[in-house]
Structure formats: C-alpha cells, structure tokens
C-alpha cells in the first residue's frame, strides 16, 4: 500500500497558526467536519430503519440496498467536500499549495470510506435478526415473568437484550481506541494490539460452523442470517465486522499523513508533520464526544421507534448510554484540557532538531509530544499543592464540623434511599431489593399504567390547582400577618395575639373537618341557619366543587398562617431599628416604612420560602384533602397523595407508591432549580 492515505477528516485543515488563537481557526473547521461525519454513517442507517420500520418495506434486503446507495452517495459527497478543502490551508496567514494529486486522494478516500460503510452495514444487519421480528409466543409462566418475556421477544427486545451485551464486550477495544489517542503514540500501538487479541478469543468459539452458514446463505440468501441454528456464527461475523471497522478507523490514521504533501518555503512537509498534537487531541476528543453524544443514542432511539414498541428506553439502556457518554465525555474533556494546557505553555518548549520556519510552534510529533508531557505535569502539580496547603490550614475545622451531619445523612437518608429503586421493579418486599426483577416496560410499567388511568391525570390536575391556589393566596397571608403584628403598638397585646394565631396549627385535620361540617353543613350547619334567616339560600361547600375548593384553601390559610408568621417575625427581629428612626426623621409614612424597610428586610427570607414552596408544588400533604373529602366532590378533592394512599398503600402496591413518589420528586426538583436560578438572576442568594 504505497500511497496508503485515508480520509483526512480529522486533520485540522485550515489551522491558521501564529498569532491567531487556534480556537477561532479551528471551530468552523470542526463544525464542517461534524456535518460530513453525520452524512457518512448516520443517514443511511436512519433511512434504513425508517424504510423498514415505518413504511413497512417487506423485503429486508431492498431496504438495506437503498440505505447502502444513500450511504455511498453521502460518503462521496463528504469526501468531495474534503478534497476541495485541501488547497485552502493557510499557515501564518499565507496560503500553502497542495502538491498531492487531488483525483488520486479523492479515489482513495472514497475507497476507505466504502470499506467502513460495508463493515458498518454488517454491524447493523447482524443486530437485525429476522427471528426477533416475528413476535415469538411464550408460554404463560408465573405472573411476573410472563409479562417481561413478551417484551423480550420484540425486535428491540432482541437487539437490546441479547446483542447489546455482546456489543458491550467489543466496546472495550472501542474505548481503548479512544483512550490510546491520549497516550503518547509509542505506547499506544502495543497496548491496543494486546487488548484486541484478548477480545478476539472471546468471540471465536471453537465449535464455529462457518461452512454450514455459507451453505445456508447460498440456499436461502440473507434470511439464513435469521436461522436459529446459525445464530452464534452470525453474531461472531457481526463482531468481526465491528473489529474490522474499529481496526480500520484506528490503524489508518497512523499512516495516512505520508500521502498528503505540501510545500512550504521550499521544505516539503507531509500531513503527518503538519498535525498539531494539541489541536489534534482536542479535536479528536470533541469528535468522539460528538460520535457518542449524537450517534449512539439517536441510533438507539430509532431502533426503538422502528419497533414501534415503546419510545422510552429502559433504565438498563439509559445506563449503557450514560456509561458510554460518561466515559467518552471524560476522555474528551481530558484531551481538551491537555490541548488547552499545551497551547498556553508552548513557549517553555526548546526547539528540537527539525527546525521549521514558524519555530515558535511546529515541531515533529514525537519531540513535541514527549517534551510537553513531562514538563507540564510537574508545573501543574507544584502550584496546586502549595495553594491547597494554606487553604486547609485555615478551614480544616469547618470540615470537622461537617463530618457528623454528613455521616448522619448518609446513614439515615441515603442508605434507605437505595430502596427507592422498587419504583422500577416488581412488587416484592421480601427478597433483597437488588435481586427483584425489573417491572414491565423496562421498569417504567408502574408509572405508565398510572398515567393511563383517568384518575391519575385528574389527581395531577387537582394537585397543581390546589397547590397553585395555596401558593397564590396562602403564601402572602403569613407575611401580611407578621407585618400587621409588627405594626401593633401594644407589646403585651402583641404577645397574646402571636400565641393565639398559631393555635389552630395544633388541631388535627380530622377535628377541623368535623368542625367544618358542623359549621358549613348543607341543612343544619350554623352558618346556613344564620344565612337562611337572613334570606339567602345558604352555602353548600360540601356539595359544589367550586365552593369546596374555596373552603379548602381558606381552611388551609386559617390553619397555617399563624404558624408561618413565626419565621417572618424572627426575620423582622433581625432588621436594624435605626432604619425606622431614620425613616421617621425623613417623614416617611407608616406605609412607606413597611414597604421600604420591613419588606426589604424580609426579602431574602421571603425568596427562600418561596423557592421551597415552589419546590413542593407537585407534592401534596395527605391529611387535609383526605379529611375534607366526601363522595360528592371527589372530582376536585382527589390529589396525588390520595391516589397513592388508595392504590399504593391500601392496595399493598409498594412500587406504585415509590414510582409516583419519584415522579413527584423529580418535578419538584425541576421547579426548585428553575425557581432557584430565577432567584439568582434577581441577585438573591437562592437555596442551592
């Protein structure tokens, strides 16, 4: 392979070096690369699935062919775009001319691109095992397994539950491949090979019957792949396909730059030298980040969609995707850091033997790489160590204080919190929670069933309505009451009033509801008797929905307002009295004093409590609606906590309780974060 070059796609083409910072030069290039990158493997796969999944193209093969054609068109286009770039490289602002043969490079790039496309095709075909398509019937086993088995037989079930673990095995080389890019080149090649060999042994079981497979292929074409008998062989072929794809996409970069030739001020330089390690690593990190962030999840979602089963991937898949993203995000980020660091500290470099005009920057790969790595590490660590030492000298006691509460929180809050996973599992509290099998619909069965019922949607609406009204009417009440008390002139009277206001908080809601019935009762209620002999028809809060909501909110305010004033009174106590004297000297009226001094003094407390209140917008207390409800107004009174009580607690359905609880908590957290960031924008300190 004398002029063995490949798609120069991850080479920073128009890297304008010298004084302009690399980022500006690099970014447009990168965006273009990503676009081409998306054209290449992604479009054919998407089209392939859409054809098969949605438009129900009967013959598997035709769909594959169409996708292949589209893939070829996509890759030629992207390679063409790449080649037109070759002669627009500028170094130090002046264009450098491309001396290699464009046509030859174009052909070669296309060849390697197609090679990759074919391996990718096999990769998806293997997963696309026909047996998975016809939903195999499973016999009825115990209640819990029967449902999960049906799920496994669908197409997505097949690919995700059987192919995926195999994929995981081969992903080790993929991860290594990315990892190796960050280790200096010399070590990189050896490490990769050893790892690849180890992965290989797991994939080539001795009882391989390849000859049988080829005969079957000859006999009935592609559908042989779906034959149960040759299942292992097909998967092994698939895996080798991946390995080839991995090997190509890794080995090729090592030799590709020799082909590209430029000529700068008389000295010939090939692509290999032009590469800038810092930019290269950073670029590579981001490309692979892009690869995973966009490519793997989108393709997975399409496979689910094609099966029209359930659009929501299970926790299991989310974990796999999250693992991919996390790993590659870390490598991408580390490479970015390394690159940035290199760019900032290039001046400490001693120029090596191969002197090139723009001596301030470009040296050969090895020299640059080696010298950079050792020096920067020491510099970095030394500075950090000194800073950390004197920080700790002043603050270690604070951490000592924190030790006890953190241990408390871990033991009494986080350890029981592990049990919360029962929300995604079968209803079993006897077996240790980690062995309980996942619930239907990849763990989201309980929540999906709840959403399907009309009662849940009704309960959600009621919770938001009642909590919303509580927030709008109930939240300001204690503030107004606190200010009123603060303005009260007679000290003794104020103390008595404070004590009386927070008394209603001690009545349990069962007693309050019996009092309410006695007061607002339709026929012999005291209020109605008084209203009747005043001529009006009386109020029916326990029969009409609207009136019930009004009573519910008013009783809520009556019970909790007194209690709320305590916090605000404590906050008012913190306001400096001098402000009041100064204001009264300036002739401020009572109202102005309240507005400008008391309220501004209360502002931080009000904002904190508002954030916390918003943070429980979907949560709902249980006693109040449960005590005040009756069969006539269940339309308005049933909130989420009653839904959980009736179906979860009384029905012994522990996962349902946990699942709806998690749903509530997640929504509350979202509200909390938004409220908190809004508070920060307004300039307040916020909660988090």
């Amino acid at each position: 392979m004398e002029n063995f070059i490949t798609k120069p796609d991850n080479i920073p083409w128009s890297a304008r070096m010298g004084n302009s910072r690399l980022e500006e030069a690099f970014l447009p290039q990168w965006r273009k690369r990503m676009l081409c990158f998306l054209l290449f493997p992604f479009i054919p796969v998407a089209v392939f699935f859409i054809l098969v999944g949605i438009f129900k193209v009967p013959i598997l093969f035709i769909a594959f062919i169409i996708a292949l054609v589209l893939g070829i068109f996509g890759s030629t286009l992207s390679v063409y775009l790449r080649i037109t770039e070759l002669d627009r490289i500028s170094v130090n602002g002046e264009l450098i001319s491309y001396t290699g043969d464009k046509r030859e490079t174009f052909l070669y790039c296309l060849k390697t691109r197609l090679l990759n496309l074919v391996t990718l095709g096999i990769y998806w075909l293997g997963g696309f095992d026909a047996r998975a398509m016809n939903k195999a019937r499973y016999s009825r086993t115990t209640r819990t397994d029967e449902v999960s088995n049906q799920k496994r037989s669908g197409f997505t079930g097949k690919i995700l539950h059987i192919i995926f673990p195999k994929l995981l095995v081969t992903s080790v080389p993929i991860i290594l491949m990315i990892g190796t890019h960050l280790i200096p080149i010399r070590e990189r090649s050896e490490l990769f090979w050893t790892e690849l060999a180890r992965a290989g042994t797991r994939l080539f079981p001795p009882n391989m019957d390849l000859w049988g497979l080829t005969k079957a292929l000859a006999r009935n074409g592609v559908s042989a792949f779906s034959n149960q008998h040759y299942y292992n062989e097909v998967t092994t072929l698939l895996m080798t396909g991946i390995l080839v794809f991995v090997a190509c996409s890794l080995l090729i970069p090592l030799y590709r730059y020799k082909m590209l030739k430029w000529e700068i001020d008389g000295t010939a330089i090939d692509g290999y030298q032009l590469r800038f390690t810092a930019a290269y690593n950073k670029y590579l990190g981001n490309v692979y980040l892009g690869l995973v962030m966009i490519y793997v999840p989108v393709v997975l979602i399409i496979t689910l969609m094609v099966n029209k089963a359930k659009i929501i991937p299970s926790v299991y898949h989310l974990l796999i995707i999250a693992l991919y993203i996390l790993l590659l995000a870390i490598f991408g980020f580390v490479s970015y850091l390394a690159a940035k660091f290199r760019i900032q500290n290039t001046e400490i470099l001693a120029p090596t033997s191969r002197q090139i005009p723009w001596e301030s920057y470009m040296v050969t790969e090895e020299a640059l790489n080696l010298s950079l790595v050792e020096s920067e590490r020491e510099v970095f660590c030394e500075a950090q160590r000194r800073k950390f030492a004197n920080y700790m000298r002043r603050h270690w006691t604070l951490y000592l204080l924190l030790v006890l509460p953190v241990i408390y929180l871990i033991v009494f809050r986080y350890v029981p919190m592990l049990f919360i996973q029962i929300g995604f599992k079968q209803n079993n509290i006897v077996v240790p929670i980690s062995d309980v099998s996942w619930a239907r619909e990849y763990g989201f069965g309980w929540l999906l069933d709840a959403f399907k019922t009309r009662d849940f949607r009704l309960a959600l609406r009621n919770t938001l309505m009642l909590n919303g009204l509580d927030l709008v009417l109930g939240f300001p009440a204690p503030i107004i009451l606190a200010i009123l008390l603060n303005e009260l002139a007679f000290k003794k009277y104020k103390r008595v009033a404070q004590t009386v206001y927070y008394m209603p908080n001690f009545l349990s809601w069962v007693i309050i509801s019996s009092l309410a019935i006695q007061l607002f009762n339709g026929t012999d209620g005291l209020i109605n008797q008084w209203l009747n002999n005043m001529g009006s028809s009386g109020i029916r809060p326990f029969e009409q929905n609207g009136q019930w909501v009004a009573m519910y909110v008013l009783l809520g305010i009556w019970q909790s307002a007194g209690w709320g004033t305590i916090i605000y009174l404590a906050a008012i106590a913190g306001i400096n009295p001098e402000y009041y004297e100064a204001a009264s000297i300036d002739g401020a009226s009572r109202w102005q004093k309240i507005w400008h001094i008391t309220l501004t003094g209360l502002r931080p407390t009000i904002i904190i409590l508002l954030i916390m209140r918003l943070g429980s917008i979907v949560g709902s207390d249980f006693e109040r609606p449960f005590a005040l409800r009756n069969p006539l107004i269940t339309e308005v009174s049933d909130v989420l906590s009653i839904f959980i009580y009736q179906r979860g607690i009384r029905g012994m359905q522990f996962p349902l309780t946990a699942a709806v609880g998690i749903f509530q908590s997640v929504i509350c957290l979202i509200f909390l974060f938004t409220a908190n960031s809004l508070a920060k924008k307004v300039g307040e300190r916020g909660v988090l």
Binding site: T397, L398, Y399, L401, L402, L404, P405, L409, V411, F412, R413, V415, P416, L418, F419, I420, L484, L485, E487, L488, A489, Y493, A497, Q498, T499, V500, Y502, M503, P504, F506, L507, I511, L515, Q518, D524, W558, G562, I566, I567, L569, A570, A571, A573, G574, N576, P577, R590, P604, T605, I608, M612, G615, A658, G661, I662, S665, C668, L669, L672, V687
Partner: protein, 290 residues
C-alpha cells in the same frame, strides 16, 4: 416619641383587626374545649358549639388520672427536650460551614443535603436500617433517626447570611478560628432563629407518633409518646369493623377525642410565650460601622 392623631387612629384600627383575627382563631379551639366538658348525650344530639351542655369531667378524669398517661406526658416532655437539643446542635453544625462562600465543596454539600429532602423511601427501608443499626425497639429510635430537618437548616443558614460579613472578618483579623467565631459571634446573634427552630423541633417531636407506632413494639409501651396513646385510645373506642363503616361505639368517643386534643395541645402552647423573649429586635445594633 409623640404620635400624631392619624397614626394613633391607625394603631387602634390595627388593634381591632388583630382582635377580629384572634376571634377567628380562638372560637374553634374554644368549641373543642366546650365539647370536651359536655356530657356524651348532649354531644349525641349535637347541641354543643360554644358553651358546654351537661357539664362533666369524666373524660379528663379518665385520661389524666391514670398513671399510664401522666407518665407518658412526662416522658414525652423529656423526649422533646432531648430532641430539641440534639436537633439544634446538628442543624447548627450543618448550616454554619455552608455560610462560608469560599469553602471548597460548598455546592456539593449543599446539594447533598437538599437532595435528601426530595427522595425519601418510606417506612420499610427505614425499618430494615434501624434493625441493622440495632436501634429498633429501643427508646433512642424516637430521637436519633429524625433529628435533622434540612428545611430548618436552610432557614437558619438564610438567617446567618443576614449577619454582616464585617463582624466575621474583624474576628478573623484578631486570629479567631471558625469555631470561636461561631460560638462568640454567630450564636448570640442567631437567638431569634434558634428560638424559632427550637419551637419547630419541639412541636414536631411532641405531636409526632408514627415513628413510635412503627419502630416500637407493644412490649415497649412505657416509651410511647402521649399522642400515640391518645391515638390508640380513640382508635379502640371508635373501633370500626370493616363491614360496619357507619357504626362506632356510642357517645363517649367524641368527648374523649376532644379531651385528648386539649391534653395534648395545652403543654406545647405554654412553650411559645417563653420563647418570645428571644425575639428581641436590634441584636446587631451598633456592632457594624458605617
């Protein structure tokens, strides 16, 4: 200072509004008190609202005079005091370090605490954990597991933010370490919020009974808080067979229910007036220049 006629009229108007609110809050409680004093037959006929009918005290006698309940009252008071002290201590040592903005990992600890407010897992895991820790069926289970409330920590911390920075810096210049600053500057200034939180924790412990219900078996009845005994007393008197929904044991339950509310409420009501002393204003008066 001399008040103009207009402000004096406004003061009286405010006093009148406060009086109206006092009535609204006190009447229901007074009705409960009246019912706890009236005879069962009067209650049956629903003739009691504000004034007791057929005055008798046997509900109170029945509850108060038995030493099982009196001991429980004393025990719950002791429990509340212990609970408040431990809770305040934990809340302070969690809130104070988080007021240092330059503390490394402040954001992490903050999120670490607030996250636990949203994702609790219910009684079963707590029961299993307490069994492993060995706290089950022992009286400390009423104090230790639920001593720290993150909501109260947030309130305390937001109050601590309002304390001017200059006080802390001046102490640091004089070479005071963080703990000395906490003890000599922050705690004295935090009296209002300490009073508030001690009231919140006291009421929470006094009224709480579900933790005793789950984590103490009937054999440890002497450690039951008063609210649980009253809950069981009413529960059994109104023992409801699932199929006889509407029918409870006749009459005496309502007087007993009202009496138990009064017995459980009066002690805690008395606590608040003592704490009001600490709501003194202007604690940071003159400490800050300029």
């Amino acid at each position: 200072m001399i008040k103009s006629k207009k402000t004096k009229a406004a003061d009286y108007f405010i006093a009148f509004v406060c009086f109206l609110l006092i009535l609204v809050c006190i009447i229901p409680l007074f009705s409960v008190f009246a019912r706890s004093l009236s005879s069962p037959s009067a209650l049956m006929r629903k003739e009691v609202f504000l004034w007791p009918v057929g005055f008798n005290l046997d509900a109170y006698v029945r509850v108060l005079s038995s030493n099982k309940y009196t001991w429980s009252l004393i025990w719950t008071a002791m429990l509340t005091v212990m609970g408040v002290i431990l809770s305040l201590f934990m809340t302070i040592i969690l809130a104070y370090p988080l007021t240092y903005d330059n503390l490394k990992g402040r954001k992490f600890f903050n999120a670490f605490a607030i996250f636990t407010m949203y994702f609790g897992a219910g009684t079963i895991p707590m029961y299993l954990l307490l069994k492993q820790v060995g706290l089950l069926n022992r009286w400390p289970v009423l104090v230790i597991p639920f001593c720290l409330s993150v909501f109260n920590m947030i309130i305390m911390r937001s109050f601590m933010y309002s304390i001017p920075e200059s006080l802390k810096e001046s102490a640091e210049i004089d070479g005071a370490g963080p703990i000395r600053i906490l003890i000599s500057i922050y705690l004295p200034l935090c009296k209002p919020v300490l009073a508030t939180l001690s009231l919140f924790y006291a009421v929470g412990r006094w009224n709480g009974f579900s933790d005793a219900l789950y984590f103490l078996s009937p054999a440890q009845e002497r450690y039951y808080p008063i609210q649980l005994l009253l809950y069981q007393l009413i529960q059994n008197v109104t023992s409801v067979d699932p199929s006889q929904e509407a029918f409870t044991q006749p009459g005496i339950s309502e007087t007993l229910q009202m009496a138990s509310v009064m017995i459980a409420t009066i002690p805690i009501l008395m606590v608040y007036p003592f704490l009001q002393r600490y709501f003194v204003t202007g604690a940071t008066l003159g400490a800050e220049k300029g």
